[in-house]
Amino acid sequence: MALGYNTITFNPDKCDGCGDCMLACSQAKAGSDDPVHSRIQILTNDADASAEGQSAIELAMCRQCGDPKCVSSCPAAALSKDLSSGTIDWDSSKCVNCLLCTVGCAFGGITYNAEVGHVTKCDTCDGNPACVKVCPHGALEYNTSGSVYNRIGDKEDLFVPGLSACQGCNSELLIRHTLRNVGSNVVVATPPGCIPGMGTVGYNGKTGTKVPVFHPLLTNTASMLAGIKKQYNRLGRDVTMLALAGDGGVGDVGFQSLSGAAERNEQQLFMCVDNEGYMNTGMQSSGSTPAGSWTSTTPVGKEMQGKRTDAKNMAKIMMMHNCEYVATASLSFMDDYYDKLDKALAASKRGFAYLHVYAPCPTGWRFPAAETIEVCRKQVESNFVTLWEFTPEQGLQFTRSVDKPAPLVDYLKQIGKYRHLNQDQIDHLQRRVDSQVRSLKAFEQSSAVS
């Protein structure tokens, strides 16, 4: 089976060409301040900057290709793909300086350095890249999703095959990954919503999971889990309590028992899979549905132009309960999600943990099924949703910068439920996004002070 690998990612929109990464690389690899030694080359061109919508920043560095042509072109077997780390390794004892590897590379990733007299290339600093650490703008990142997938891929999938989620739904991806990581020592509650609807609680007398699962009412998920947990504690068994609920089961009908459990600091992990409405029953509006959204109960017509009121920010509300752990997450940022899942699981041993994960819905929001992860990404990049975590000790901290967001319209325009929006509605949503970010930033600052 193919392995996933960690990788350095570059976002030219965030790069201002400061060159700190090149300096750090030169220092790390050659002990020199001369950028000629840098294995990452940031290329700027003033002429391009004026051209509309074009980034002037380009990049030349090793892509650590899956089918590396530098390796294929090496006559001396000096280059090889390390199948565990994914990097292309260069063996100085075998290299004959023929430069044919540089013919194979179309990225400028392996180049002859006349100062040292041989080719050089990025080795990702053995998984701790110097360039990423010094990037002041977050343009360079070290994405560890690859190793996360490998780690999780080795664990047993605790859902049965053949769940009947809609095409392109990321909830199935989410819950399969989650339960692999949580493991089998768990009781899962799936209140009415898409997740039981796709077959996780099962049918014909069989469950859709390989672990105990039950189907509470929308209203009593948190209290049922609290009771089960207390009984297990009484028996001296440490069992994880996991709720996989939709936004309706969290913020509307399910809120009373959720708020109570959080207030009592019950030991459970409550996960909200937020698709911004009651999608499995026919796409009705919920308290999580953003203003302007088309739903079957907030139609677009003469009288109405989609939902008239704003969504409530459930993650923020849960933070105000001062839970052991609260975080938001997106499946476009898996390494961030897994980090939070681990923390939430640990917190659920002590008390109440709440994870709010965004689940764009191709069927209900009307966008192509293949675009889900991209929609997730744009949600985050535009600050429509923000990634942060909270603990009573540390307060709120963003796990991804909210500075320099992508334009909100780039997010809205790819989704059918926003197609009718007029400028006033877009402006309203922008103000809402800005005020949410301001408010969360204020929390972050107050955490830093205290």
């Binding site: 061109n45 004892s93 540089t102 590379c105 007299g117």
Partner: protein
């Protein structure tokens, strides 16, 4: 009779690349690699470094038995193909064994071209194409004092440098007026020649050998000019020719090499060819050419492997262009695409940007046509050949970036390519 779904003849770059491509699509189909060589797969390109001692013969294998085991590949060295029977999907080996195939790849490479110089066939000489050749040349250079290198192509130039560095008195004899014709223009070639002269190598350009004789332990080479050279080691490096002898009577169309289409298919069903053995599309013209260079072998091998395993991502061969990276006495010469507008398909093209600094051994020549890059060659000039290759193949319009490109081909090339990827 033996049977293999995929039968690959040859074991260097084209064959190995084809195997990798096949295994991407078909991890289980039986796959057999037969080569006339007696060693694990290696590259002919590494051999000059075996001669110089930089590479050890045990350390140059491109793949080992563990790789073949991992990918369920049957590796059969030391067997030569005698005959092909395309109608029966059958290959006959030199030991009489018959192999049946579903799909066959001919990647038999090339062998030294021995010029018809009178007396040469009666004389002891060395060539450099196989690992055994390299070991023999290395041993011979330990004992010899004086060497003649016939032919100033890549093999000859590498050989001359190695022999000179080993302390031999070396003379290079080349029929054409310059070294490395086809890759560098006369001016650039002159810079390379002078480096050799400075290191004590005698360069006899534009000289034809008319008679060669065996003399005791050595040889005597008589030139057209009447001059006579003597040496105790003779390296013949006057080029290579595709190995196609086994194609006789098979109906496979050959010219200088095996003729292939844009998917490396021969004119016979279920038979492909790739690498130095082929005569394939040229990038610049409608002709079919023998390029005999490593990057093309990799490219062709991959295409053939993809075609053989019905890879849906199969793309057509974009046509061969000359590419050469050559290191001599610590200096770098790089040539991608056309290098000379005095002859060939770009004859008369006037969009040439030349920059030369003889004192510092710097040379850079860029050829454009209709604002598209046609070729770039340099000595001690910083270039990314892989990027230059793509700029040529993709016919990228450089109209707006031409001045930048001429001033800074390295940075501008990288920037253009990065932009193209996005």
């Amino acid at each position: 009779m033996q049977h293999s779904k995929y039968l690959i003849i040859g074991s260097s770059h084209a064959a190995l690349e084809a195997i990798a491509a096949i295994r991407m699509q078909d991890p289980d189909g039986s796959l057999t690699l037969i080569t006339r060589d007696n060693h694990l797969p290696y590259s002919p390109t590494v051999l000059p470094y075996v001669v110089s001692g930089r590479s050890h013969p045990d350390n140059i294998s491109l793949k080992d038995q563990a790789y073949f085991d991992l990918h369920a590949i049957d590796f059969i060295p030391g067997r030569r193909v005698e005959k092909l029977e395309p109608d029966n999907h059958c290959v006959m080996l030199d030991n009489g064994q018959q192999w049946q195939y579903d799909k066959l790849l001919l990647a038999t490479g090339a062998s030294p071209l021995i010029p018809p110089v009178p007396g040469l066939d009666q004389t002891n000489f060395l060539v450099l194409r196989t690992l055994d050749d390299a070991i023999a040349l290395r041993q011979a250079s330990d004992q010899a004092k004086k060497a003649i290198v016939l032919g100033a192509g890549l093999v000859g130039m590498h050989g001359a440098e190695n022999l000179a560095e080993a302390g031999l008195d070396v003379t290079v004899v080349e029929m054409q007026a310059q070294v490395l014709p086809g890759y560098f223009d006369p001016q650039a070639a002159g810079l390379i020649e002078s480096a050799f002269s400075q290191h004590g190598v005698t360069m006899k350009m534009g000289h034809r050998a008319v008679r060669i004789e065996q003399k005791d332990k050595g040889c005597q080479v008589e030139l057209e000019s009447g001059e006579t050279l003597e040496a105790d080691l003779l390296l013949v490096s006057t080029g290579v020719k595709p190995v196609t002898d086994y194609c006789a009577g098979s109906g496979i169309k050959t010219d200088q090499g095996i003729l292939v289409d844009d998917h490396m298919a021969t004119n016979q069903t279920d038979i492909w060819a790739a690498g130095d053995v082929t005569q394939a599309a040229d990038f610049y013209s409608d002709a079919q050419v023998v390029t005999g260079i490593l990057p093309d072998a990799v490219e062709q091998g991959r295409i053939a492997g993809m075609a053989m395993s019905d890879d849906p991502c199969l793309k057509s061969y974009s046509g061969g262009i000359p590419i050469n990276t050559y290191t001599f006495y610590g200096q770098q010469a790089i040539s991608v695409g056309a290098s000379d507008v005095s002859t060939g398909t770009l004859a008369g093209c006037s969009e040439v940007e030349l920059s030369v600094d003889t004192d510092n051994g710097f040379f850079q020549k860029i050829i454009f046509k209709d604002n598209q890059l046609q070729g770039i060659s340099g000595i001690n000039a910083a270039l990314d050949p892989g990027i230059m290759w793509q700029l040529i193949l993709r016919r990228i319009d450089l109209a707006e970036d031409k001045a930048d490109f001429v001033a800074k081909p390295l940075e501008t090339g990288r920037r253009l390519m990065s932009k193209t990827w996005r």
